[in-house]
Symmetry: D2
Subunit: 216 residues, 4 copies
């Protein structure tokens, strides 16, 4: 797969290059200009909202697919990406961790069948993390459709653990996710890029990328 | 709810009476005969295959629903229960633990989306358990559609833990079930009885009982 | 081992009889009087403070050992038990769960070596439990000599889980205890009785019973 | 603290520099020669056995302490380090992960008190790891003095989890270690260097470094 990166010099750009080691980087766009070594099949943008117009222009120019993980996009910008989906395969998400996304899907599908079980959520992060509960814990709780107690441990250098603990009088069902490293997001981006490079034009969520195994 | 028990004097009969404490026991059938104190809305049979004819006769007599958890039923007997489903609500399953059943459903639905993750199954039971892996571990592995390594710990008096561990380079997703006590099965029977007492005639699985929250 | 029970008719009396099935019950003392079928080597009292005088009289009469797990003993009563220790082996504790006691010992010995690690305690109990954190969690925290955050989950019918989670930038060390059933306390009493039946006169803690493997 | 590194250009050298960011690097020794910017209080050598003579010469020249984590040292080399301990504080270990070392100490101290509990060990590592059980699992099992079943999961990118699971009829006691990152070893080296810089001459193990909190 030939791919391009917007924000190649940034931290996430570096992660992407590592995760895409088996593929060919043929385009990069940074503050100091663009570098074109070929025609990418897919472009990845995990940079800043201000970069989006240049990114979309490049997608149109190359006739390629797009994976966008930029946070802080406005509703207008999301609207423009949807329009771009008429002519290109566009995958957009604010979280490209596959495991977290799958756990959210499981909770959304199965929490209704566990409505007569007690539920509490537990998450553990490094001691530098200021907010509690974590954004991911809130997202998972929202997926259950329930307002349950949430416990936040802040210890050492833990990258991020999340557990949803369901229990009734005779059983405990625990659904847990643990992040090992930051490469998580780049691996999710790789999955999305492989999907987008093959997909028909459209505006896709990361859930749809992950679910494509289901539909086959 | 007015209910009846076949095999009221057995261990499972005792568990059911405890779990159904809020309901009215008005019929029981045992080796030493039957005792009728009213018309049950639902009959529960967790006894032996040989009791099934008498059970089915009672269901027809009372025009009530049936929950059958008897193990070792023959294909012919299952066929007769299906026929009974034409005129009565019949719930039949070999395992009435809700958590195990839900975990199996989660694995069946989501393992295809985790096909590029590694998977191993780990189970822990008391040191009296002879077989390994446990029947439940095999059932869960079958639900994933994958032939993965399975680890069996046999220590102390653990009633039964099962975990499916999925991992890729950056994340671990662990789906775990833990049995607390034997009341599990009676609680599942209660759920099935409440469902059956209200349901239209039909032959239902325990999965369908648990899924009815989903359809509403 | 020939043993006797004070409060044989109570719940804990029943648990003790089950745990001591391999031994010979030859004495019992209850509200309705005593029953003597032989000379016990050790007497067990897990009843009420008001029973202590009769218990101590019986220990002196039989020249036997004593295991006391009665809660709510006064300082005066503890003093009298210590005096009894001059002529009999007396084991006294307010908690005969071996695992909890061992975890407390581990935390007391090793928390000083983990002083530069973060520490949080997590405990899970059934939803009927009113107090939080649990008495055991407080006892374990005290054993660490640190005032750390404690999280209490109250879900389903969980008998009681406790974890001490230590973490630094590169590692997590988790020390966990899980109660499976109420037989825990009777099993601890058995261990104490076996110790007391062989021990020289003295006033012993349950820790000393558990540590005797160490000293040998 | 002023410190020096033997093998500064290697991977472990880089880790040490990160972990020692608050301290002053004033000496380095590499294949391409040495660089002296001051007199180190402690020298760290996590390189190759062949470097040891030059390392020991530098320790004598500077009159400084030494922390050695080199693997594959011969008995003769260990003997020379012990002799060096007559005039300098020398800390030598083959594993500078504090948590693993503490878990080994806990198991060595407490396994004898758990001799009537069942025990199994479970470890999880990334799928690139060829050996099973892991060297650490074997070391922990040796520390228990028991020959227990050991289970090895090989999934995804897990850096390394180890659990010792003790259970009797009523309780489960689980002692677990989890590595978060490779910085573990450099953090242990830092702890050892801080100890050595202050210590009297002697030949110390990493256990003694970790235990010094106990003696205070």
């Amino acid at each position: 797969m030939r791919y391009g990166i917007v924000g190649a010099a940034g931290r996430m750009g570096g992660e992407i290059k590592r995760a895409f080691a088996a593929h060919e980087l043929c385009y990069s766009l940074d503050l100091d200009g663009e570098r074109v070594d070929g025609t990418p099949q897919v472009l990845l943008d995990f940079s800043l909202p201000s970069a989006l117009p240049a990114t979309m222009e490049a997608v149109r120019r190359f006739g390629c697919a797009l994976v966008v993980g930029t946070t802080g996009l406005s509703d207008d910008q999301i609207g423009e990406l949807k329009k771009l989906g008429d002519s290109a395969a566009v995958v957009q998400s604010f979280n490209f961790a596959a495991g977290v996304t799958l756990l959210r899907m499981i909770l959304r599908d199965f929490a209704p069948l566990l409505s007569d079980w007690d539920l509490e959520i537990c998450e553990t992060h490094h001691n530098k993390k200021k907010d509690a509960p974590s954004g991911t814990a809130i997202m998972l709780r929202d997926a259950t459709g329930r307002d349950c107690p949430t416990h936040s441990l802040r210890v050492g250098g833990v990258p991020g653990d999340h557990s949803a603990v369901f229990a009734n009088d005779g059983e405990v069902l625990t659904l847990s996710h643990r992040a090992i490293s930051r490469s998580v997001f780049a691996l999710g981006a790789l999955k999305a890029a492989e999907f987008a490079a093959e997909a028909a034009p459209g505006f896709y969520s990361f859930e749809e990328v992950l679910s494509c195994g289901r539909r086959r």
